[in-house]
Amino acid sequence: MFSFEVGSLLNIALVLVVGLGISVMMIWVERRFLGFWSDRLGPNRVGPFGIFQVIADAIKMLAKEDWIPPFSDKFTFVVAPMILPIVMLLSLGVIPFAPGIGIMDLNIALLWVFAMAGLASYSTMLGGLASNNKFSLLGALRGAGQMISYEVFMGISLLGIIILADSFSLREIVEAQADGWFVVPQFFGFIVFMVAAIAESHRWPFDLPEGESEIISGYNTEYSGMKFGLFMIGEYIGMFVMSALIPVLFFGGWLAPFGLEFGNEIISGLFWMGLKTSFFLLFFVLVRAALVRPRYDQLMNYGWLVMLPLALINLLITGAVVLYQAG
């Protein structure tokens, strides 16, 4: 029960606490680094370097008035923000952080992650529809279109990896990268998956469902207090899941580059996994700071006419090479 094998109580507690803790600290990290990359300082007053800003934000969110609009569909309005964190936490459960650390070890772990990402789009759509508000409806429609179409080539781009690793299980994918990370043979798959990951977690530059300067706040216009907090936490957990998934799939997971292992296998795995995840978390924040938001039809064109053919060509070439090498 307290051992370091997958599914033990210690593991569950560790992964949940660290995962949720990092997702919540991302609020501070994002605001601070967005400030640095915009030639200003982020929040630096509340604690040492402003770390307790997260606590201040949490207190603010809990103390706000929790108002359900009388013109909305009350049951769906309350249920919609609950879906996103639940679904994202479920997909956090299958990610392998180190050889003995993880919550679940499914042999269809990759399909599980896609299923959860698909369910996450319900939260956007239901939230916007239940609000009975024109701007929320626009946000929900944009969210529905964007998330569903970007999920298509998110799946196809990973089919190349599944061919190379011969399994859906994330642990076996990591172990199959022992002699070469998958980013080298699957470079286009990496690019397509990176774009799709940013779109799936509603990050800038794909945050059209949230709008923020065009449609006031998109699907979370009518939400206040803890319901909005649930949407925000769900988005940050989704970002953490995606940044932990990209190293697992493409950059070797817990394996060290050039065999630079040290100490215990678990500690080395956690260190390298932590390093890679934090690199991608900061990369997500940099993408938010640097890139502009495309127009909605430009976004959909980009998805269907550029990313999807790229993913299909990647799959075709991977399949052809593997078949050729197998004789």
Partner: protein
Amino acid sequence: MFKAIGKQINIIWSQIVSLWLVFLHLFKKADTVEYPDVKPYMFPRWRGRIILTRDPDGEERCVACNLCAVACPVDCISLQKTEDENGRWYPEFFRINFSRCIMCGFCEEACPTHAIQLTPDFEMAEYVRQDMVWEKEHMLIQGTGKYHDYNFYKVAGKAIGGKDKGEAQNELPPVDRRSLLP
């Protein structure tokens, strides 16, 4: 078809270049002025807190002429004249309501003696609204403010105790009419 592929590669490359350029901003100094640890620099003619100044001789400059109260567009100044034993006019009370004052500087431009002046200080916030009404003792300073050597009574023609008609600077003594008779 190759042109289309080239265009796509150009698009992706420009995004990567903008990512790199924004990343370099991490190593540049931030433009934020960290108030209240660092106070911002305000220029000498910046219209901030109102003060009442004194002569180079140490007497207060305000002669209670009411020109500042008349010039004020929001009527926030109120004062009352009284005389001292030398016949010199001075304000018995001088009150400015800072919740009305718009810091326009019209009072400074209207004042004939350079008594009322605006300084580059802005930290005047209060918690109680009645504390925003300042009296003369809150505004009178011991120095001369921005205009160091202007003494109104030395150049004015009014006769007060210690200075008769004709004894001001640049003033000729009054002409004796009776000595001009043919």
